[in-house]
Symmetry: C2
Subunit: 108 residues, 2 copies
DNA sequence: CCCTTTCATCAAATTATTTTGATATATTAA
DNA sequence: TTAATATATCAAAATAATTTGATGAAAGGG
């Protein structure tokens, strides 16, 4: 690695950690399914999603938190309801245009 | 999910499994580092990579296998040496152009 | 043939992630 | 106020992924 400056190495390190978290969030069939469902509605509350995906609420909340922490989805609270929606800008930054049909709301 | 045909559901299922494996392979700092290093050489053998990344050979082989199984890298055997290189087509299909500077050989 | 190098694979130990069921908080409705 | 609903979080159990050190196979050199 002799041709790299320390500064570049540090910033690359930081990127690796950041992307690790985002790819980790994507690295699960159930979460890909959640993203797919969210991409088909404008926004969706936990209880509706729980029925759609046939998953107990605590399990779903666990997975939503992982997606939220990775900033792949956005949360909006109204009363006791939590509405989740796709963070399209973030997915655009991360994924190829070819993947948009599966994981992003705006169709190809 | 009433508005979807079974066929579409099945193919989406298949996609989810396929992408799960690929994102799982990307979901690790060490493997991102390996991809980054490979993207800076045309190809690299395990022993050289092991020194570059300062990682014991068996551990490195474990991670290379995960990347190889996900088809994110390509392996070429010559004698006792195994040379690994980035599978650029696959990464292009998967990742956004913005990520190319970090994980793909051809610079932006 | 024997020795060395390169690499893959294995089993055991360790560590991380996920699932489950229970509980807690906040909001709304009666 | 009481009851019901929506959601988050917790701790324990269950699963899955990673690390480690050892072993073995294949190739090449002397």
């Amino acid at each position: 690695m002799s041709e790299h400056s320390p500064v570049k190495d540090i910033s690359t390190e930081v990127s690796f950690s950041e992307y690790e978290a985002k790819f980790k969030a994507l690295a699960d069939k159930k979460r890909l399914h959640i993203l797919h469902l969210l991409s088909q509605q404008n926004s969706c509350c936990v209880c509706d999603l729980s029925e759609l995906i046939d998953m107990p609420q605590s399990k779903l909340s666990y997975h939503l938190k992982i997606l939220l922490d990775a900033k792949l989805i956005i949360k909006e609270t109204r009363g006791t309801w939590s509405y989740y929606m796709i963070n399209e800008a973030e997915l655009n930054h991360l994924l190829s245009p070819e993947l948009c049909c599966i994981f992003k709301p705006s169709r190809c």
